[in-house]
Symmetry: C2
Subunit: 118 residues, 2 copies
């Protein structure tokens, strides 16, 4: 059966240790609980001054920027992104998403199920 | 290497036969050309009066509504959707996306690579 939901009604999980990850909310919009067979859709809201961890893992990210201003940092530099921009992070590439603005920086990030921790 | 692009710079493919599909533009934002290993991210822009085909296939859709007004039609009804709404269409479920507004109806639609025709 087709499932339709409003993304703001999905409860977030908070990620914040004040050092490696700051002011991140993650909402799993479609994932294992929906019986998604292959990949998961998550929405990340990074508050002002916030960032995801600088890390790497053996699965890819497919990212679509929804709102705010941010940048993607990687092994040999960084690049600013804005709404409507798309980032493809291949497996095993180091990466980090940083809010460089004053409003929330929001993006969708899709991963194969092996990269979904719930 | 991380790839970053602006979605409006991706060339669209047009789908319109005036009957089963109307005023649809499809942009493959991340897909086989990017060496995506598992799934593809596409952006659909459905013009006023437009719709995708009513159909089914053996792969799922994960959809995020970006702008405009529309509805999802399925075997036993329909449901309106608006920006920020998410739809999960399981494999083999009949479905159609219809623009019910006066502006463009835009959404992202992710599929496993088996469902990507380029």
């Amino acid at each position: 059966m087709i499932t339709i939901k409003q993304s703001h009604e999905v409860a977030p999980r908070i990620y914040h240790d004040g050092e490696t990850v700051k002011h991140v909310e993650k909402r799993v919009l479609v994932g294992p609980a929906d019986r998604a067979p292959n990949f998961s859709m998550r929405k990340f809201t990074v508050g002002a001054g916030g960032c995801s961890p600088y890390h790497t893992h053996p699965w890819e990210h497919e990212v679509y920027v929804l709102s705010g201003r941010g940048e993607v940092r990687f092994a040999d530099g960084s690049q600013p992104v804005r709404p409507g921009d798309v980032a493809f992070v291949p497996p095993n590439d180091e990466h980090q998403f940083v809010n460089t603005g004053t409003d929330a920086f929001e993006f969708l990030c899709m991963v194969p199920l092996e990269g979904e921790d719930g």
